[in-house]
Amino acid sequence: MNKELRRVSAFVLVLFLALFSSSTIVQFFQSNSLKEDPRNVRTLYASFSTERGPILAGDQQVAYSTPVDDDFQYLRVYPDGPLYSAATGYFTLDQGATGVESELNSLLSGTSDSQFLDRVTSILTGQEPKGAAVELSIDPVVQQAAWDALGDYQGAVLAIEPATGRILALVSKPTFDPNALAVHDSAAVIDLYDQLLADPGQPLINRTIQGDLNPPGSTFKLVVASAALESGKYTPDSAFPNPAQLQLPQSTAVIQNSGGGTCGPGATVTIATALRLSCNIPFAELGLELGFRAISEQAKKYGFGDDSFEIPMPVAPSVYPAVQSDAELMLSAFGQGNDRVTPLQMAMVSAAIANGGLQMRPGVVDKVTAPDLSALRTFSPAEYGRPISAATAATMTQLMVANVANGAASNARIGGIDVAGKTGTAENGPGEPYTLWFTGFAPADSPQVAVAVVIEDGGGLGQEGYGNLLAAPIGKQVMEAVIDR
């Protein structure tokens, strides 16, 4: 009987080991994924019952929690709500969150793994646990300048520090006031949310990194020119035929340069001139010679197609899609066809050129600090890639400086400083308003800032507006704000 009893004892032990294991799996290994399930309201309660950490830009609190007398104990307050909304996002009671509020939620609410010891300490000392503070890389002065410069246009502005990838300004318009979504009244929040969702201006979309992406227009010529120089087969002085009109192969479509005439005088035109005057026909010819693969690979090196890219908000991948014909290839070479980009992608192209070909990983967060001011996480500059050589970068810089100094991007000029830039005026189809672009950096010899500006809906001018008219002055003001600070 004892032998059987020993076996039964072992069996009971196995049963209990199964229970020990299952509770370890649920409470330790799966704990985080279960907490993140949207159906788990405990996470919501937790995020409200502890004092959520602030979000800072420079020395300003752009989001913080203040005690209130209701079930949720703390109300989220955004002193300059709309101004920083592209970075902070919103934080609602039970309708989710976006932006940094969402991406760094576990740190802000104090529930991340790295804050485990702090939670134990607060249990032992009886102190209320607090979330960590998130320090943004956003510079309030630059942010304000970008906000003011964009005015009432529908579009986005983005400024990056080329040497580090730190994002200095992140503006998307039209936008929303996160304060109105932070109130502890679910019905009112849902109501407002539905209104925002139905708004044709799509205020909930962060146009710097998301949304219905825009065709890059002539700013894409930076990518094609880079591909040409990197191939080693071309120099800025490589020449192409210079007709005023060009019929695309196996197609009835005819393309023109933006002025309607030839690209400067002469039977041929160099890449340098074509870029400076932003001519379409020479780039269509260059694109056809380079071929799809060379352009596509160069685009990919600059970051196109990266679908796992986060700043820490997820960034929609910019696309340079496969072409079906030579005609499509030629259109795609000057930023038309099916090319679609985010402003962040275009700023990254400029930033890579500005930084001697070394492209830094962009991000909007500098540091996360615990309530005791110890750093929980530091975002140090990291290399994203090397899309072009230092020599190509230097040549591209010269071409872009010429573009501003005596070319198509003249409205980006800043007195006493060399500015590198490229404008774009992208078509969206017959009769549709244009998308207006500017991207560039300054000062050209020691770049402090790279910018990208996009204005959608033609800036209200339909097909009358163009990049240099509306977008370039905005880029100029943002770059000035960085240089003057």
Binding site: M1, E4, A10, V12, F16, L19, S22, F28, V41, T43
Partner: protein, 477 residues
Amino acid sequence: MASPTPSSATETAPAPPAPRAPLTETIRVRLRAPARRRNTELGLLLFALALAGGALALVQLGALGHLAGTMMLLSGLLGLFAIAIHVALRVVAPDADPFVLPIAVLLNGLGIAEITRIDIAEGLVGWDAAGVRQIAWSAIALAGALAVLLVIRNHRVLLRYRYLAMLAAIVLLLLPFAPLIGKEVNGATIWIQVGPLSFQPGELAKIALAIFFAGYLMTARDSLSMVSVKVLGLRLPRPRDLGPILVIWALSMLVLIGQRDLGTSLLYFGLFLVMLYVATGRLSWVLLGVVLFGGGAFAASRVLPYVENRFAGWLDAFNPEYYDAFGGSYQLVQGLFGLADGGLIGTGLGRGHPGIVPLAESDFIVASLGEELGMVGLFAILALYLLFVSRGFRIGFTGQDDFGRLLAVGLSFVVALQVFIVVGGVTRVIPLTGLTTPFLAAGGSSLVANWVIVAILLRVSDSVRAQPRWVVEEGRS
């Protein structure tokens, strides 16, 4: 598990007493040991009461912000009941195991604390509060245990009533089908209601079954274990010996199909199989039983929608289809969320949100405790159960009469299996079934039944200790 002690008298002839031990020494040990055992129990009991009282105070401070005088007073009175049992043991069972009572008291007290916590979350007070009723039921259960200890002075008496026990078990199982008093709750027909009191007779039936199995197997073990037929190299029981296993199987299937109670069905059949194996040592019986039950359960899962739902909600709990379904996996998933929220160290008593889970005070009390005490607390609770079970098995190892040994093993195994079925269901090891967690969960029937088990284990353990035998003496030193 209990450390193996030398084989008992039934299998090995007892060794003669060590000749060099002076007689006086032996007597001294024998006379002093019981008092030491009870003193150990008193110390542990006071510790258990302090822990349980502390837990009750903490849930009130954590969730209410202040202490509720009535609850503290009522549970204090309950503590005196527990001490009364201890005092009674000094007189009627001085050699009883010193760990069983403190463990049961601690689990019962933790249960009351957590049930009170859920009451606070749901704003229940007075007689509506499950915690208050749990204290009343605990008092009844403790009185019941005391009565069992006082009335049954020798557990062998129970052997005489084995067939009466069988009859009692069947009547108890059938009671919920009786007109007027039978009642269906959440689809399961396992309740009876008389006036304001409702009761699950199936909980008491498991004790009656254990008594019957122990008595029957003790008398029938030889015919069951010696004679067999060989089929395909397997030694199987003779067809005519198959009777009892088929009867118990039919009974389990009746519970499964008639009462729609998968957990209880599994519990009864598991209890029978283990006792059968311990009595006969024939693994073929166990295999046969597993095949029978597995086949029956599988067939039932095909035919009965409730069993099928339980399986689907278990395997694919997070699928919205089952999550949102009526009677789907919502409760299970919310329980898992609670456990996950507790994490390693828990939210602290009174600081979590266990009230979100349906039936947080009864079927899901383990998830509630796991949320507020964390993995650490859940481990401690599981360890308490394991210790409790091992004390029961210890009687099985060291006892002299086969009836007592089988009974103790059966009763402690039924507790172990019930904990496994409940906690395993909550933590998704097995499909969720509607069983109560012994001592912890809100519910009078379960409390009374488990405290009667405590009383019987104490009684049987006393008879083991009280035998002046060499083997036992060595086990003690």
